[in-house]
Symmetry: C2
Subunit: 161 residues, 2 copies
Amino acid sequence: MRKKTIEDYVELIYILQNKDEKVHTNNIASALDINPASVTEIFQKLSEEGYIDYEKYNGVTLTQKGKKIAISTKKKHDTLKNFLTILGIDEKIANVDACKIEHVVNSETMERLTKFVEFVQQFKDGPRWIDHFKYFYETGEYVECNPLNEKKCPVHGSKQQ
Amino acid sequence: MRKKTIEDYVELIYILQNKDEKVHTNNIASALDINPASVTEIFQKLSEEGYIDYEKYNGVTLTQKGKKIAISTKKKHDTLKNFLTILGIDEKIANVDACKIEHVVNSETMERLTKFVEFVQQFKDGPRWIDHFKYFYETGEYVECNPLNEKKCPVHGSKQQ
DNA sequence: ATTATAATTTAGGTAAACCTAAAAATTTAT
DNA sequence: ATAAATTTTTAGGTTTACCTAAATTATAAT
């Protein structure tokens, strides 16, 4: 896996903390597939920088500062994942990609994407153009669709009868 | 800046090569804001791995293998940038984000995004829902729009008269 | 054709994110 | 309550992507 960022660690601690209260070296090590000794070093660094409270042999908890980063990172992750899922990307892949993109994406871009997801989610079964996009993705054909005469639309026509 | 990948170097060499034929240490060093001595090392590595032909003191050119990576990376970049621009993101930011995302994104995701951009670009001034999205982004309001009665739509109504 | 200047390379160094192996502390089982 | 097993930490690598300073090569100016 790619080199991990502070955001990776803090986000993961946040997720584990919501299950178990205290987060231990081994949890992180196995989740990120690195050596427990490395996690100790990371704990020391994150603690120095004020993201976690760390007591030797006794696990860690996020500070306010850490929690703030964790929440914002997780929010980014969820939005990205939702966005990718809207496009029709497989959930597993959406998750993996979200995990990477969340660390590099600009905040203005995130804002737009967030609004985009909101925009799309306002429609109960998604907006009709999404169906057309998926049809286009699968067949390469774009078809016009007049909402007053859906029968003629190969995408929406069949839904109606 | 973040640590650079092989893709970064190869893509940049490709872009510079299309201007100047031979690409030199200093070009890359100033473009990526690193030390020319580091570029020499990078040239040696890229050369060993078969991405470039490198002759001491005489610049580099991409091999077939290198060109292939460069082209595919640049294509990813362009698609991502187009996509972000469609959402209304400022060109500068779109460029920076594309530059980062291009190195981490899954190929299936890229395929979907490519199709999505194609899908949108089929409409001469973009599909009407894009206008609605932008309106939503700015005002927070989603308005229904019946294409047979556009006058009633605050987004499309004014365009018509 | 020298010499001065600029570009490139070499040699050796630093910092960070990992690692392994062994020591220390904690927990579990009897 | 002690021994055994497990977890965590420490100490001391390794690798990689950079760096600086000095040496080398190439280029430009007289």
